[in-house]
């Protein structure tokens, strides 16, 4: 990082990437791999969490609606109200099988987490 990466109200995209994600029981679920921005509105749509080497499989990517993430200063990471089973059943993809990312897919992702649609806000 060359630039100041966090202020009281702001956090840089570079700093978000690589940040750990925990559940409410403080178990580490994975880490933020990247952040997806809605080009039109400039609003963060998803944090893409990588969930590494699970069940002997390769790394998988879980798009989490931004509203599902809460930053916890003490843990130095994001907390989501999900257990591993819920995460396993959530929409995810691997390096070789990217989804279409159309509105149907995005609706499915948001419905799974019962998150408000970012495009309707």
């Amino acid at each position: 990082m060359d630039v100041k990466d966090e202020t009281t109200n702001l956090i840089s995209g570079d700093k978000v990437s690589g940040t750990a994600v925990y559940n409410t029981a403080s178990e580490k679920l994975g880490s933020i791999h990247d952040v997806m921005i809605d080009k039109r509105t400039g609003k963060v749509a998803y944090a893409v969490m990588s969930f590494g080497g699970f069940l002997g499989m390769g790394e998988s990517y879980h798009p989490l609606p931004w509203s599902t993430l809460n930053y916890n200063v003490d843990q130095g990471g994001y907390v989501v109200n999900l257990n591993r089973e819920q995460l396993e059943g959530a929409p995810h993809y691997g390096a070789e099988d990217s989804p279409r990312w159309d509105r149907d897919y995005e609706t499915r992702v948001h419905d799974y987490y019962r998150a408000p649609y970012y495009w309707g806000m």
């Binding site: 990437s17 990247d34 400039g42």
Partner: protein
Amino acid sequence: MEHKDETASLISIGKVSGTDVYDTDGNHLGKVEDVMIEKTTGKIACAIVTFGGLLGIGGTFHQVPWHGLVYDARQGGYVLGIPLTQSNGESAFSPYVAVA
């Protein structure tokens, strides 16, 4: 990037960072260094753009509003629709605090 970093409506921060910025005449101005996100709302507050400098060294960091940057696929970079200097001669963008 191992995952899809752009769709019709979305772009990843990993892809935005490092992207060149041009003025409306096609002159190279600098590049996007990072973006700043409002923690609570998830809104992009601004992009941090370096203007000037050689190969990214010695450039100055500035806060540029996200809506001021329009992606141009032909140039493979963002076009800054706001002049760097205002009519009163002052810079249009606030400097951003840099820590080495």
